[in-house]
Amino acid sequence: MNVNAIREQFPILHQEINGHPLVYLDSAATSQKPRSVIDAVKRYYEWDNANVHRGVHTLGSRATEGYEAARAKVAAFLNASSEEEIVFTRGTTAAINLVASSYARSVCGEGDEIVITPMEHHSNLIPWQQAAKATGATLKYIPLQSDGTISLADVEATVTSRTKVVSMTYASNVLGVINPVKEVAAIAHRNGAVMVVDGAQSTPHLKVDVQDLDCDFYAFSAHKMCGPTGIGALYGKKSILSRMEPIEYGGEMIDFVELYESTWKDVPTRFEGGTPIIAGAIGLAAAIDFLQEIGLDHIHHHEQKLAAYAYEQLSAIDGITIYGPKEGRVGLVTFNLDDVHPHDVATALDSEGIAVRAGHHCCQPLMRWLNVSSTARASFYLYNTEEEIDRLAASLQRTKEFFGHAIG
């Protein structure tokens, strides 16, 4: 994998921030976009823009073809068995909310259970809290081990015959942990529950095969995998999706409308009320092409190397705490420096052109489990290099000295 050639394709990376070359280490929040994705969106607006599934005219056909081709591309990318299993959404959050609002609320009742973990992003936590409240179901948590991983024995102990839904992130946006979702799905199924996988942090970095995982739902966002913001998708097994009611009503999703009754289109259009995110879908398709051309295996391997290197370089700094397991992590390192607040760390790094995230990472329960109010996080993608990690480590050393002097 030629990282320099890859970097050339990302226009945004070639700029200075505060007088230093940009080091972008916040891809877990959102990735940067290659020229091919930017061009695909531009070309769509300049040549093909029209509403989909309506117009008889040529542009309408082109837009529809582009949008539906994107759906087929996503289906193949995830190895879904048909494109009818792909619902376009605004992103992971909207996808999980769709499952929680439509599926979970129809199958859960008093005494039933929804099972998640404390490491979930708020977008895979609050929808289930609300679904549990609305249905009288109990929200249960699989406990975390001391290194932030989960054990299958705990999954077995938590999931029961009353469990209707198990939902879990494939990869943690804070701990970097990769969860054994395939094994968890098998446990869920043995107990008669469905398995929902939050793929926001895995889809950009790992080869995903939803049939192999045998999950019932899988959600992801385009913007973390070189695609545009505002688009993502929900994969759902057709047998389950076709039993689900829509949660948004309007144009596009209807079959036949009368004054007092209406019927819905088949899946997946039933869940896509209103004019869809056409340009976003076309940009997502371009992002999938881009990633597949490089190869998800190569990308994953590159990030594993970067994560291991970052773990080693950062561990050498006196007074640093790194969260999560050393092995088996996606390309991110979450940390704190003793006596320096992560906000101050992030501002200090930014003054040297290095972009990291500071805060609770939309994981307040996990922050409480870690016993911190917030952390800093450096996250890597296919365009990052070991030299950038060297710059991060050197800048952290200076940050420590600056605040050490300032408050020492």
Partner: protein, 142 residues
């Protein structure tokens, strides 16, 4: 951009030795506020008599900017009437917008003017002042 522009010595002094950190025994009002972007929290307590802030203390977690700002705010607000305190809060907002304002009452506060150039950090600096506003509004309503 130099870090010293933001983290002036007086700010780091308030961060290292925060004034009025703790809790009051006879508070009139307690305001809990979060900085939703980072999860930091402040609990501000005010003791109020005859429409005046007699004492103020804060507790909670935060970065150097939010803690030093809280330290300065609790220092300057003591002895102020509601109107005077709210006027100070207004002036602090103006400072965060980059306007040239003075704090003769406590010149330390002017050191926070550099925050204006760090838009992501303005919420840190204003957290304690927002708590003050909220506390006074609650008192005025009751």
């Amino acid at each position: 951009m130099q870090l010293d522009d933001l983290y002036r010595r007086v700010i780091m002094d308030h961060y290292k030795n925060p004034r009025n950190r703790g809790t009051l025994d006879n508070e009139s009002v307690t305001i809990n506020l979060n900085n939703p972007t980072c999860g930091d929290r402040i609990a501000l307590q005010l003791q109020i008599e005859d429409g005046k802030v007699i004492d103020a203390k804060f507790s909670g977690e935060g970065c150097s900017i939010s803690l030093s700002s809280a330290s300065m705010m609790t220092q300057v607000v003591k002895g102020k009437t509601y109107e005077q305190a709210l006027e100070l809060a207004e002036r602090f907002s103006a400072l965060m917008k980059g306007e040239e304002v003075e704090f003769e009452e406590l010149e330390d506060i002017e050191a926070l003017s550099g925050v204006n150039k760090f838009p992501a950090r303005i919420k840190c600096a204003t957290l304690s002042w927002n708590a003050l506003r909220k506390g006074i509004e609650q008192q005025q309503q009751s």
